[in-house]
């Protein structure tokens, strides 16, 4: 690959990678900032500055860590494994228009890499020996089990029409097979947003601002983390949120693309705008909704599953016609 490249293309590719890296590090901070700011404004507060998450991370990086004496290597390396995996995923998932090409990524590979992160998150939470972390991870495993068919089916229905499981092909703008399916893209995008709310343990499944350990899901899993360990985990989660919102924003943009073609130059700005727009919507939704009772959560997931099933039906109908 590198030998056949002229100097100009090489420089262009390098610049693309650098731009991509910068966006990957800035966007999570901004996304979290937008959600928090929206919630604050909805509650009539000014709220913390947009970049507060960055200041928090800097503070956490300077602190020392307190680690449970029960914990083994899994607890501390877990944070590193999760972040490394999430960074790897950010190069594989087509969450932003300027993602560098040439990285071959498969739908099922992505789904199972997310599962890898989840396994290590659960193990790290149980490694400390804390019952709170264990309850949180038990619920997290339950939610993941319930939401996995929905999110996979949404992506698979796109793949059925695109006749490929390669993510770059499915989300490619030049893919004619999926060019006139705004309905399918919209259904898949909405299913992915709903699934990511569950995956990220946000409202209405879990309240990220809760203060009671017994009702926490994700926060309970982080209860024992501190200092740099916590910083890594917070950043991983923000990046995961950005990547998942980005993926559904791309679906919406494809749906929109059918009605109004926008120039290629605007793609990056539209992707960023899409992610921040979704963050704004989630912030609004979190302000007006309440946390569901644990037993009602499967009901919420079944709405998501219904959307995925509709998407799958559309895909089967389209696939057979072609």
């Amino acid at each position: 690959m590198w030998q056949s490249m002229s100097t100009e293309t090489f420089l262009f590719e390098t610049a693309r990678w650098i731009l991509f890296a910068v966006i990957t590090f800035v966007m999570p901070i901004l996304t979290i900032g937008v959600v928090r700011k929206t919630r604050a404004r909805m509650q009539g507060r000014m709220g913390a500055p947009l970049l507060q998450a960055l200041f928090d991370l800097r503070k956490l990086m300077q602190k020392s860590e307190a680690v449970s004496s029960t914990a083994t290597w899994i607890f501390r390396s877990g944070a590193g494994i999760e972040l490394a995996n999430m960074l790897l995923l950010s190069t594989l998932v087509p969450w932003i228009a300027n993602k560098p090409d040439g990285v071959s990524s498969d739908l099922f590979l992505i789904v199972y890499l997310f599962a890898l992160s989840r396994l290590f998150a659960i193990l790290a939470a149980l490694d400390s020996g804390s019952p709170f972390g264990a309850f949180g991870s038990s619920r997290d495993a339950t939610l993941a089990m319930l939401v996995e068919p929905a999110s996979l089916l949404a992506l698979v229905s796109l793949a059925v029409v695109a006749k490929s499981t390669e993510m770059n092909v499915i989300f490619s703008l030049t893919n004619v097979l999926l060019a006139h399916d705004p309905g399918l893209w919209f259904l898949a995008g909405t299913a992915i947003v709903m699934a990511s709310l569950v995956e990220l343990s946000r409202m209405p499944v879990d309240d990220p601002a809760t203060h009671l350990e017994l009702t926490m899901i994700h926060e309970a899993m982080l209860l024992e983390s501190s200092g740099r360990n916590l910083a890594l985990r917070e950043f991983t989660r923000a990046l995961k949120m950005t990547v998942l919102f980005g993926l559904s924003a791309q679906c919406y943009l494809r749906a929109w693309d059918d009605f109004w073609h926008f120039p290629v130059v605007a793609q990056v700005w539209l992707s960023i705008g899409g992610i921040l727009g979704l963050a704004l919507l989630v912030g609004l939704f979190e302000s007006v909704s309440v946390k569901l009772q644990w037993r009602k959560v499967p009901e919420f997931i079944s709405y998501c599953m219904t959307l995925s099933l509709l998407a799958a039906m559309v895909a089967v109908a389209r696939g057979v016609v072609h």
Binding site: L88, L109, P131, F135, S137, E148, V316
Partner: protein, 660 residues
């Protein structure tokens, strides 16, 4: 090289093993070396022999007037190599393991059965005709039955070996029926003459629709032996009862049953979509059922036994997809599905054996495999725990291990079936199966995260777990070897699939290109991941200042190990969701004079039951024992009654004879 050396080697080993029976205190190390040598020699012979060899056993070795015939093709080579790898790992592991059961285990019986078991499995795979196959199949069943009964002083082991032997009898019955039927249709015992094609004027040994019934009988026979839902009931009895070494080899046995399915039905060009869809249906249900029950088990061995049901279901599903796609003429889909089935069969053999050996080490160190009595083992048994984690990751199909590649190919075959089949039914079935597989994936993460973290992480829950220690060098070597193999099979999946290509070509009579569908590279994924992790670790985690302290317990002071989560409580939210399937309920008993405010004793226990066992198998067994008891009245032991029988029979015979 003369291929008959292979069968002679296996037969000699089986015969040589028999005298060991009489040495109760046989030397484990010597016999382990012997098994290792046998495995190495067998794999060397198999690799050196020309593929597609056929030969007959010497004349003195024949069933009646029928000489035994053997063959060696790519399919047999794949399974024999899997067998030799597992046998060597188990042989390395066994001496250290047996030392812990010195008083109870008859080592002579163990090693004799072990050698007979391994060599008869190899001979089953080598058999070229139905009679030879059945002979060694029986030898395999009986020797594994003897191995299950190793700790026969234990009451539950007696029950388990009875159930196991019963299941193998029924399986053999179905197989024998199917084999006889096929013989009557084709007038040949050789597998290569058997073709299950309905529309077969062109084929040699053409058959009528009777072939489909024969295929059905054979399918049921192998499904029972493989432990497919709803015939899986013997598995959760036999695997936990057997010593861990035997369980890890027995997970290879269920692969032999799947080998039989591929050898006879897939290579026999079965063109029955009904049987194909039945395989898909039963495979999907097994996968879901197995992992759901694996999740709620509180014994590591039972968890592994049920997860075998899951994985065998996945392999059967792949075989079903292959059969359906082949009938519909979608050869590329059939090729991917068959490769997925074979790859997962090999992969599952390796990681399940690895995990059983891990449980074996834990059992040696703590004398229990109940999850509730373990905990904190990672600090005391680092090698075993890490290898077990690798096995758990492989079984959850996480990249870059071999489980992922098998499952990826299965998904890929279903996806291709969706966009190539052109019928809404085919597409709908594929998408529903994908949906169930996603659920199975989520459940298996929950299941093995639970099993691993409750047993190996946290604080020890019993004094024996607190005193745990690492196994001996042999057991560590065996586990590290298998764990490395899991990784290697995942990273080098493309060459392995290339090795399986001739099998697909032979089954589909065309040039297949499965390896070309893999459009990503797990090695580069691993390299990127590792370098990112190393960067994060060196730059951020390593320089950080760490203080050790107690966990957060709301300010009450240090909590005891009993406050940790148990396997039951971890699984409770999921079990609640599926409570209808599991008949799940939780009882809570509070004792004490003023129970509400001052309880003296609180007991909380979850209860589950298997619907199939309670509603179908138990009434059926009751019916059989009722009939048997009623018939037993005929044989009362009274000489007078027997004389009456004789007299009546004589008169009846005279009347019958007169009428001719």
């Amino acid at each position: 090289m003369n291929p008959s050396l292979i069968s002679s080697l296996c037969l000699t080993t089986a015969l040589m093993a028999l005298p060991t029976l009489f040495f109760r205190k046989a030397n484990s190390v010597a016999l382990s070396l012997l098994t290792l040598m046998f495995s190495l020699l067998l794999s060397a012979l198999v690799v050196a022999t020309a593929i597609d060899a056929r030969w007959a056993a010497p004349a003195w070795l024949s069933v009646g007037s029928f000489p035994m015939t053997f063959q060696l093709d790519n399919l047999s080579v794949a399974f024999i190599l899997l067998l030799t790898v597992l046998a060597s790992a188990v042989a390395l592991f066994s001496p250290g393991y047996l030392k812990h059961f010195d008083e109870t285990v008859n080592r002579g019986l163990y090693w004799a059965s072990f050698l007979v078991f391994v060599s008869s499995m190899a001979l089953v795979v080598l058999s070229a005709d139905a009679v030879t196959f059945l002979v060694f199949w029986e030898l395999m069943s009986i020797s594994s039955g003897a191995l299950v009964a190793t700790n026969h002083q234990n009451h539950s082991v007696q029950k388990a070996s009875l159930i196991y032997l019963g299941a193998t009898r029924v399986a053999t019955g179905f197989l024998a029926g199917g084999f006889l039927w096929m013989h009557s249709l084709t007038n040949s015992w050789a597998f290569q003459d058997w073709h299950f094609i309905t529309n077969a004027s062109a084929q040699l040994g053409a058959s009528t629709s009777g072939a489909h019934f024969a295929a059905f009988l054979i399918f049921i026979g192998f499904a029972i032996k493989a432990g497919i839902w709803p015939f899986h009931l013997w598995l959760p009895y036999a695997y936990p009862a057997a010593p861990c070494t035997v369980s890890s080899l027995m997970s290879a046995v269920s692969k032999i049953a799947l080998y039989g399915l591929i050898r006879i039905l897939v290579l026999g060009d079965l063109d029955s979509p009904i049987l194909g869809y039945l395989a898909i249906f039963l495979g999907t249900i097994s996968a879901f059922w197995g992992v759901l029950f694996a999740l709620i088990q509180t014994d590591l061995k039972k968890t592994l036994a049920y997860s075998s049901v899951e994985n065998v279901g996945l392999i059967l599903l792949a075989i079903g997809v292959c059969l359906v796609a082949k009938t519909n003429g979608l050869l590329s889909v059939a090729a991917i599905a068959l490769s997925a089935g074979l790859f997962h069969a090999i992969g599952h053999g390796v990681f399940k054996a690895l995990m059983f050996l891990g449980v074996g080490t834990v059992q040696c160190a703590t004398h229990t495999s109940r999850i509730g009595h373990l905990g904190g083992l990672l600090k005391k048994m680092p090698t075993t725990s890490t290898c077990f984690l690798v096995g758990a990751m492989a079984i959850c199909a996480l990249p870059p291990l071999n489980g992922f590649m098998g499952k990826w190919m299965l998904y890929q075959s279903l996806m291709q079936n969706t966009w190539l089949s052109g019928s809404p039914v085919g597409a709908g079935v594929s998408l529903s199966v994908i949906c169930v597989l996603a659920l199975v994936g989520g459940l298996s993460i929950a299941c093995f995260a639970n099993a691993f973290s409750v047993s190996f992480l946290g604080e020890p829950r019993s004094s024996s777990a607190a005193r745990a220690f690492e196994g001996d060098i042999g057991s560590s070597c065996a586990q590290v070897f298998l764990a490395a193999l899991c990784l290697a099979l995942g990273l080098f999946a493309v060459p392995v699939i290339g090795f399986l290509k001739p099998i697909c070509d032979a089954a589909l009579h065309s040039d297949t290109t499965v390896a070309a569908t893999i459009h990503f590279s797990l090695s580069s994924v691993l390299i990127v991941f590792t370098s990112l992790f190393a960067l994060i670790y060196l730059l951020i985690l390593k320089p950080s200042k760490v203080r050790r302290g107690i966990i957060w317990e709301c300010g009450f002071g240090s909590v005891s190990a009993r406050a940790q989560v148990t396997a039951d409580s971890f699984a409770q939210p999921i079990a609640r969701i599926f409570n209808k399937l599991l008949s799940y309920s939780v009882t809570c008993e509070i004792e004490g004079s003023d129970r509400r405010h001052f309880p003296e004793r609180i007991t909380v226990a979850p209860h589950t039951a298997s619907h199939i066992e309670r509603r179908i198998y138990q009434p059926f067994l009751k019916l059989i024992s009722f009939i048997a008891r009623s018939l037993a009245k005929l044989q009362s032991g009274s000489i007078h009654l027997y004389l009456v029988y004789l007299c009546v029979t004589l008169i009846a015979l005279l009347i019958v004879g007169r009428s001719f």
